[in-house]
Subunit: 555 residues, 2 copies
């Protein structure tokens, strides 16, 4: 059984002596290697927030989650949100919503979402893996209904310009034919006694039996001659039995290099079933959490431009509808994305290593594009697709079908027409919105002719975002490279306190789960445990930085 | 793209000459090999039912589907249903429903379903594969909401008494570790040039690259050292990166013989995703179809005891609340399960080969057991299971978790505690209900300690069915063995007309999809096309009987 996450209810009293030690650690007096293990809390809490003030910068998932914890513990919380809405990257676009990007030439370009009322598209996080128990626990606690997100269906398609007459091939046929060939090769190795010494003869016989099942091999020769798993050649009828479809040839499969898409994504830790999505849109979570906050906690349109570590806390300066403000809080938690912190915020009194981290950490470029379809053509008898992802070459790479409202009576639905990150995210994001639509439409039309029809997929009902161009976001997630030692140092700087235990960076950016709401909640928990719970003194050290590519793209 | 099923709208006029030919074929005058291809219709229809009468025996999915077609075409339809309810094996049990079995000693044993109001369990068909387009098209047409049925989650469990300290192991860990080892063996074969001659050096390099992705191999040596796909050793935290879990050893995996459960079921044609279930219970389909029939079409509690092929049609005798009846209909379609036909119905005027088929065809034994859980413990942080099937040794074999109402506020749910067919279905079915519960509880408790707690899984809220003991059913599906030539002959007899084109057997029993509602609807379509559409004359022949085990158990 998996172990539960560190949700212990043990709290601790962080007395003056401990604070002094903490300060020593913060200032480097106690060597890091002398610090005790990073996780765990010292002893049950005896203090409450006692009216101490906390500024939380950013009303995204981490900020709102942290606010609820601190308020419950008796702190007075102020959330300053730079944008005119809560949620940050947890963005569900609905009719009338606007998305603004600022381009390299300084121009601001704003789209208005024109989906029909009742439709929506998740432009940020869109999936909740079953092991993201902080998010799922939150949904349970706040009664946020979840439905399954379908990552893959055998009816999904893969298309390449190089093979099969450019016709889309069923994703399930690829998967099952590959299984067959792989099992056939493995059986040949077993029969030849390769990798021997490892297995007894009886074990080899069992392995062959397993391979027959694994790949649906012909048991006599342990070879692959096609499988009903890959579908029927023709639909069965009363007098016509189920005839298996001929397998794709191995040379063709190899030539296609289908796995260079993220074809096997669904096997990865974060994309394995079960996956969830909230009914009605991903922002249901952050909205529900925010609605649980007392009125007045959040100030929107309040970008922070200076943070100073001062004797009695953290001095924060911001501007909002009422004008300029500056106030000293006992604590400050900043979920401001590091590139925004670097670009827009004057930092005073922070350590040099913290400064290096802020100067160094980059965020990943990523784009999403969704649009309305006036016919759920993919659910027709022709395609039989009910959720999942189809794969196509080029920047747009993937097309998601809705995992909800199947066979909807209004016959409308929203397709995710592109999702690309890193290199292809940069390229795609550098296209103006109309060119993004054009690129995505051309890719979609290679899978579904209906995609070319503007009466079915109307131009004006497409919406796109390049997260790295969105002000106050400047990227989709923190790009941590676990192989780079600078990254390790930056990460360590960012997950530890600044000041006299008064300032902390929060958000998925400072967790091993960049890009995931689970990370945002993990960070809020960590910050709360650190400030209120009395984390054991000592600078927390880490072995390596997180691996952002692995947890976002699966590679 | 898959071809659509044979739903052509071409109809034909079956004139006197054609009828005469048909009669000749029926009586054997025209040799079967001279008969034209079995599928397809001759030409567009010009006649309507013109008030001709049709008796449909059985108000299950095939009967009700056929009734709608014939009524729409102008026939007068009477459905005679032996039981006190419609639906046949499409049975969803809810509070107050009763299930009666008749045992070998002649005793009738009746259970009353005691699930809490609002809960239900599908005791017959429970899944709709995406390619079952007749069923899905029906749900679209009649606005029957569908939701995804989840066949498999990586969080599901497998447990064996022989290994791993009898602890359940995550199904996803088995799947991914096996993928790794299989890919490693395959890579060894590729590097040794086994199965060579087939691939060029460049292709072999590509195959190795594919195998690295396929199995998450270490790219340097193409060997398997474990994968994050199999889960994390410990939950990640802010300072703790994602650590992959150690792989299960190949010898242990082989020793477990995990694949002797139906572990790879989810790969099979009928069990691949996407799969659906109707919101609210499988019987929503047959109920909705029945509600579209004019009032008075269905007579319940009207078992037929004689069917005679007579000059001017088919004479049917039955008994209902009003007493004995006998009436001659122009046509008769019987969905009565063949073992029931054999046991209870006096057949007059049928051909000898039809008689042999009725005497010979057996139905498969199968049992299901469901019960209420007062806590959705499997959805807790401890288990993280949201749908899918866990596997356990012994008769009960599998435990299904609900694919609906996740994190339900009332925290109740229905588990399928056993589903077994053929040998294990016989053994399990021969246990009295309380012993079935005992067996299933013991199996469940090996996966979840909560299963042993009667306050969580109350004894009285369990319900079971052995379909082979249910009167008027006598089995779960027709057992066709495609390797037996007698079965081929029986199948051919049953799918063709009897009488002067007046009598036909219908139901999933006479399709290549025994046990599937898609088969029931296919059969209704076939019967309608045969009677009304004017199927081309000639006895329809088949190559082989269906393969019931394959389409029901996957083997």
């Amino acid at each position: 059984m998996d172990q539960p996450h560190n949700g212990s209810s043990r709290r601790t009293f962080l007395g003056v002596a401990a604070s002094a030690t903490l300060l020593q650690v913060m200032t480097g007096v106690v060597p890091a290697h002398a610090a005790p293990a990073p996780t765990g809390l010292l002893r049950p809490p005896r203090r409450t927030g006692g009216g101490k003030t906390v500024a939380i910068l950013g009303a995204g998932v981490s900020g709102v989650t942290a606010a609820l914890k601190f308020i419950e513990a008796g702190y007075r919380v102020t959330i300053l949100e730079a944008q005119g809405r809560i949620g940050g990257r947890s963005l569900t676009a609905r009719r009338g919503d606007t998305i603004t990007e600022v381009w390299a030439d300084g121009s601001a370009r704003t789209q208005t979402c024109r989906l029909d009322r009742g439709l929506y598209v998740n432009l940020g996080p869109a999936r909740i893996p079953y092991h993201n128990q902080r998010v799922i626990g939150t949904c349970r606690k706040y009664r946020i209904p979840l439905e399954q997100y379908i990552m893959q269906s055998n009816a999904n398609l893969y298309q390449t310009e190089r093979l099969w007459g450019r016709a889309p091939v069923r994703s399930g046929q690829i998967a099952n034919d590959v299984r067959g060939y792989v099992a056939e090769y493995a059986a040949a190795a077993v029969r030849k006694g390769l990798l021997d010494g490892e297995l007894s003869e009886a074990q080899r016989a069992r392995l062959l039996a397993l391979l027959d099942e694994f790949g649906d091999l012909d048991a006599a020769g342990h070879d692959y001659r096609g499988s009903l798993r890959s579908g029927t050649a023709r639909p069965p009828s009363v007098p016509r039995e189920l005839e298996r479809k001929d397998p794709l040839s191995l040379p063709d499969l190899l030539e296609s290099a289908f796995w260079d898409t993220r074809y096997y994504w669904e096997l990865d830790y974060h994309y394995q079933g079960s996956l969830f999505e909230p009914v009605g849109g991903m922002d249901m979570i952050v909205r529900r959490l925010a609605s649980a906050l007392p009125a007045g906690v959040i100030t929107l349109n309040a970008p922070v431009h200076a943070i100073g570590l001062v004797e009695d806390g953290v001095r924060v300066a911001w501007k909002d509808a009422d004008g300029e403000h500056a106030k000293t809080f006992d604590y400050c938690l900043s979920s401001i994305p590091v590139p925004v912190l670097r670009q827009r915020v004057d930092l005073q009194g922070f350590s040099a290593d913290f400064g290096r981290a802020v100067a160094g950490l980059g965020f990943a470029p990523a784009c999403k594009l969704g649009w309305q379809a006036n016919r759920r053509f993919w659910e027709s008898e022709k395609y039989q697709i009910y959720g999942g992802i189809s794969w196509v070459e080029g920047e747009t790479q993937q097309i998601w079908y809705p995992s909800t409202n199947y066979l909807s009576p209004d016959d409308k639905g929203v397709l995710l027409g592109a999702y690309c990150a890193y290199d292809s995210g940069l390229t795609f994001g550098d296209r103006p919105h109309d060119q993004r639509l054009k690129t995505a439409r051309a890719a979609g039309a290679r899978l579904h002719s209906e995609f070319a029809d503007r009466s079915i997929v109307p131009e004006r009902q497409g919406v796109s975002v390049a997260w790295h161009k969105v002000p106050f976001q400047l990227g989709a997630w923190a790009h941590w490279d676990h192989t780079i030692s600078d990254h390790r140092e930056w990460y360590e700087s960012l997950i530890n306190f600044q000041g006299n235990g008064t300032f902390m960076v929060i958000g998925d950016q400072v967790t091993p789960l960049p890009g995931w709401q689970e990370g945002a909640m993990m960070s809020a928990e960590w910050a709360f445990a650190s400030v209120h719970g009395g984390r054991r003194p000592g600078r927390v050290s880490v072995q390596r930085a997180p691996n952002s590519r692995l947890v976002t793209t699966g590679r």
